[in-house]
Symmetry: C2
Subunit: 223 residues, 2 copies
């Protein structure tokens, strides 16, 4: 396909359900808008600490809102996420190193990163499993289409210094764009860059890149 020259970088962490929403929407629109979508697995904890922000879960009213907000968003966007009764206190450093290792292995395209990320979101925001355990990462990798050997290799890579450094450098890259939370989307169009935080700026993003927002299902016929 002829490139439109519109580059969209998605900084995300599977610990963030709103990142999942942004991820699915951008994949649905990738061909519709003819954007060059670049996946940037990052570490939410590093973004929060690096920007001096606080996680939203610390405010009880925000947590309550998150439950009803995710429920309605999930229905409208058809992304099967919902808030567990209590939020996991597990850190996403290990799973995001795992995703980073998949991305390093999958240099040619990002089909594997796409599938592995989605499996991890499902485990965290749908079936509510602990994704910090190697067995859980293994199962996610297998479901995403990796072989047992590939999963083994990626689990080993996950503990390696280059992968740790890679995740750190992508997280720092996000902070250089003045990121303070995830998802964080950087759009490059006609030599201009614009950043969008969260999963609620798609319509505005479409306006910025000169495309049309057609709701969460661009290829479904509307009523």
């Amino acid at each position: 396909m002829f490139s439109s020259g519109k580059v969209v970088k998605l900084y995300y962490d599977v610990a963030s359900p709103y990142s999942w929403l942004a991820f699915e929407v951008l994949f649905r629109y990738r061909n519709v808008w003819n954007i060059d979508l670049k996946l940037k697995p990052a570490y939410l904890g590093g973004v929060i600490n690096g920007s001096g922000n606080r996680p939203p879960g610390l405010i009880p009213n925000k947590l309550l809102y998150m439950a009803s907000d995710l429920k309605l968003l999930s229905e409208y966007f058809e992304v099967p996420m919902f808030k567990p009764a209590t939020l996991s206190d597990k850190d996403s450093l290990i799973p995001m190193r795992f995703v980073t290792a998949v991305a390093e292995k999958d240099k040619k395209g990002d089909m594997l990163v796409e599938r592995v990320s989605r499996e991890l979101w499902k485990r965290m925001w749908n079936t509510h499993q602990d994704i910090t355990l190697p067995a859980s990462l293994t199962e996610a990798g297998l479901k995403a289409g990796l072989s047992t050997n590939e999963v083994e290799e990626i689990l080993t890579l996950t503990k390696s210094q280059p992968i740790k450094d890679k995740l750190k450098s992508v997280t720092l890259e996000a902070l250089e764009y003045k990121c303070f939370g995830l998802p964080f989307i950087v759009c490059h169009v006609n030599g201009k860059a614009e950043v969008f935080f969260g999963s609620d700026r798609f319509e505005l993003m479409a306006y910025f890149i000169g495309e049309k927002w057609m709701g969460p299902h661009p290829t479904k016929p509307t009523m």
Copy 2:
């Protein structure tokens, strides 16, 4: 007009530019969606303290984002707001008591509250004037169509206990809905209530109330 039974309550503070956006959008859609729009002038400081939240301005990266976000939103929504070089540290308690006094005087409709609120937003988020000064409130009142005598009366009311209590009670009402920031929108449809925070949930709100989101200009022909 036959009532649709759809009640939409907008809790807002003129210190919040995103409240201005929500306010203009809801007025544009009021007749299109046939909603019973109820303006609820509240006090942002009370909401922040009451929910244990922190103002967004404390995080430098959020402040930077706010400037570019408001600029693009302003253009797309055609609401002439932009962030001043440095945010005002003036508290909005006095101006919101002033708006509350206007609302109490204007029991029959909300034309005056609408106009006065808009004038205050313009001063705070367009011309960047100090809206805590009586002279500034007076000018806003006059521009909104109040007579000198009416402004005098409202300025006196602003200092009265019933008005102070009224603003407090509306703010507490928002907190009872588990509010943690403004704008905060409560929709009542078919015996169900749903809350929406911020000015980026209109499409989702339309879905909830069974109406159609047509972008920021529902009555303008689209291309």
